[in-house]
């Protein structure tokens, strides 16, 4: 009887020692693979040189046409014009919805304005 009990104990010991569950102790280190994808490289775009003052300059205020923000854009034009009357603040509507690009407006801005304020959402 004692011999049979001994075999059972031994079997349990070996099963525990070599089963995947028990073989890995909580302090043992494992190696796993990285789940992240590949981010693209980012080329820095140098910022445009700033004028020393906005006096006598033209600044476009571009409304990107986020829904239901027109009052805010108009208030922005008004408050800037009141505070800085020596600057020409011109409201410009971007083409299409707020997600659409407008290369024509960007070309116009580069040619005819000294700077831009672009309102974005929300």
């Amino acid at each position: 009887m004692k011999i049979r009990a001994g075999y059972v104990t031994l079997a349990v010991f070996f099963a525990a020692a070599f089963s995947p569950v028990f073989a890995q102790t909580s302090s043992e280190k494992v190696i796993v693979m990285n789940p992240r994808g590949m981010k693209p490289p980012i080329r820095q775009i140098p910022m445009a040189e700033r004028p020393a003052t906005l006096e006598g300059k033209t600044i476009y205020i571009v409304d990107t046409r986020f829904p239901r923000t027109r009052k805010f854009v108009e208030a922005l034009v008004e408050t800037l014009a009141e505070r800085y009357p020596e600057t020409d603040w011109i409201l410009k509507d971007k083409f299409g919805g707020y997600m659409d690009d407008d290369p024509k407006l960007w070309a116009d801005t580069k040619e005819n304005a000294h700077g831009a304020i672009v309102t974005v959402g929300h």
């Binding site: 494992v30 994808g37 080329r43 959402g121």
Partner: protein, 452 residues
């Protein structure tokens, strides 16, 4: 643009715009923040905001705008070349199981649920289920158009497949979804969701559930493939970091499993083509069709009214974020009733719905300022529409075009569009006459066989 520029943004989006400015190559962009939100705020309140302080920097807003346009640039502002990014390592640092599990949670690499740790042995086993090379680029994915697109290989998709609990035999399906380049976690504030519908022999091969509870949590393939899509979106598609690449205000519970289910092809009435055949594939091909949308209603209406009229009535008054796309998911019992009512193809029923579904007047006039002016000037038919009153129904359908939000970015995939903005899909166990109405719209269907 090439001229000094200052974006004015509401403060809730600081993290997002800072991140996008960096990814677009202008890490020091001079942003000015206002209190959030500014939508629908009265002019007086907008002025008060603008005459006050930037809630992020504490600086007066108007002065900050002028400073942003005039202060001299630093050497860093004028920098060129590549911005530093941490190089991707194939393996994470070795650690204990407990620490690694915590690492995955703490670094936003999971959906908040336990994952299977992606050991190399498990990933190798997953890779055996496809003939494609581990290094092959599967696609590119972004949180939405303004965000940067990340690229990923077959091996990287396999890592996420292991994490989701998918069996290796599911891997070609997961690769097909990944190849579409459509994130399931679109960055929009609108809490967008995704749906994947499977067709073809793959349904039986994988033992997918198209019967009782097809859209519920009752089948390993349905569940883990759907879950994997969210892990792929987060980890391979640069999506799903709240505040930075995900702005869904309330979130969407459908994102856990992304409504992944097979069409019950044997439950289709005679003459009704399976979805993949409608999209131009052969019946013998295995295909996954990807949809986008927001909401989902499970409906039965136990009255003598024919079900096709109930669906039409529901669609007429259905209101959600979108106004131009819908998918009706029918139990086979409902499909049989609709077919018996005379609709011998899916298209004939979809066309009936599009042609006979009007627009509630209150909704119509809110989006048609020009037509309202004509109506007030007595111009027909708008003048007659106006006479119907706010509770009337204008006989013009909202379901006339298929819009796709969160368009997949992978240029190698051809994107067939639906011939109708209303899709009909059949699935379920036939236990009762239920159907589900949703605002989901078809984006793309891709071959699974290509990824075997």
């Amino acid at each position: 643009m090439g001229v000094p520029t200052v974006p004015v943004i509401t403060s809730r989006f600081q993290e997002l715009v800072t991140s996008i400015a960096f990814k677009r190559g202008i890490p020091n962009m001079r942003m000015v923040y206002t209190p959030h939100p500014v939508t629908d705020r009265l002019s007086a309140l907008c002025r008060k905001y603008l005459e006050g302080k930037d809630p992020i920097t504490g600086e007066p807003i108007l002065e900050e705008i002028v400073s942003g346009l005039t202060l001299p640039l630093s050497a860093e502002d004028k920098g060129t070349g590549f911005l530093p990014r941490t190089p991707r390592r194939r393996f994470l640092e070795p650690d204990t199981v407990e620490n690694l599990e915590n690492y995955f949670y703490e670094n936003n690499l999971t959906d908040g649920l336990p994952i299977v740790l992606p050991t190399e042995a498990r990933v190798t086993e997953m890779l055996k289920a496809t003939s494609h090379s581990p290094d092959e680029v599967v696609g590119r994915m972004a949180a939405s158009t303004p965000h940067e697109a990340w690229e990923y290989t077959v091996e990287m998709v396999a890592v996420n497949a292991v994490m989701s609990g998918a069996k290796p035999e599911y891997f070609p399906v997961i690769l097909a979804i990944a190849s579409a380049g459509a994130t399931s976690l679109v960055s929009s504030t609108s809490s967008y969701a995704r749906m994947a519908v499977f067709n073809g022999p793959i349904i039986e091969e994988l033992g997918m559930n198209a019967g009782i509870g097809a859209m519920g949590p009752f089948n390993r393939a349905n569940s883990t493939i759907g879950r994997c899509w969210t892990l792929i979106s987060k980890n391979l598609g640069g999506s799903g970091t709240p505040g930075e690449t995900y702005m869904g205000s309330q979130g969407n519970p459908l994102n856990y499993g992304n409504l992944c289910f097979p069409e019950r092809e044997e439950g289709l009435p005679a003459g009704w083509d399976p979805l993949h055949v409608q999209k131009g594939f052969n019946r013998s091909e295995s295909v996954v069709s990807i949809f986008g949308g927001w909401s989902f209603s499970d409906i039965a209406w136990f009255t003598p009214m024919p079900v096709h009229e109930v669906i039409q009535g529901w669609l007429e008054h259905f209101f959600s974020t979108t106004v131009s796309g819908a998918t009706i998911i029918m139990d086979p019992t409902v499909a049989a009733d609709v077919s018996d009512a005379g609709f011998k193809t899916k298209k004939s029923f979809a066309d009936y719905l599009a042609e006979n579904t009007g627009t509630p007047a209150w909704l119509y006039w809110q989006t048609r300022k020009e037509e309202l002016e004509k109506a007030e000037d007595g111009v027909e038919p708008y003048a007659s529409y106006l006479k119907l009153g706010e509770k009337g129904v204008i006989p013009i359908s909202r379901f006339t075009e298929n819009i796709v939000i969160g368009t997949p970015v992978n240029p190698s995939v051809n994107f067939p569009r639906s011939s109708t903005p209303i899709e009909i899909i059949v699935t379920g166990g036939g236990t009762n006459t239920y159907w589900s109405g949703s605002d989901f719209h078809h984006a793309v269907s891709v071959s699974i066989d290509k990824w075997r």
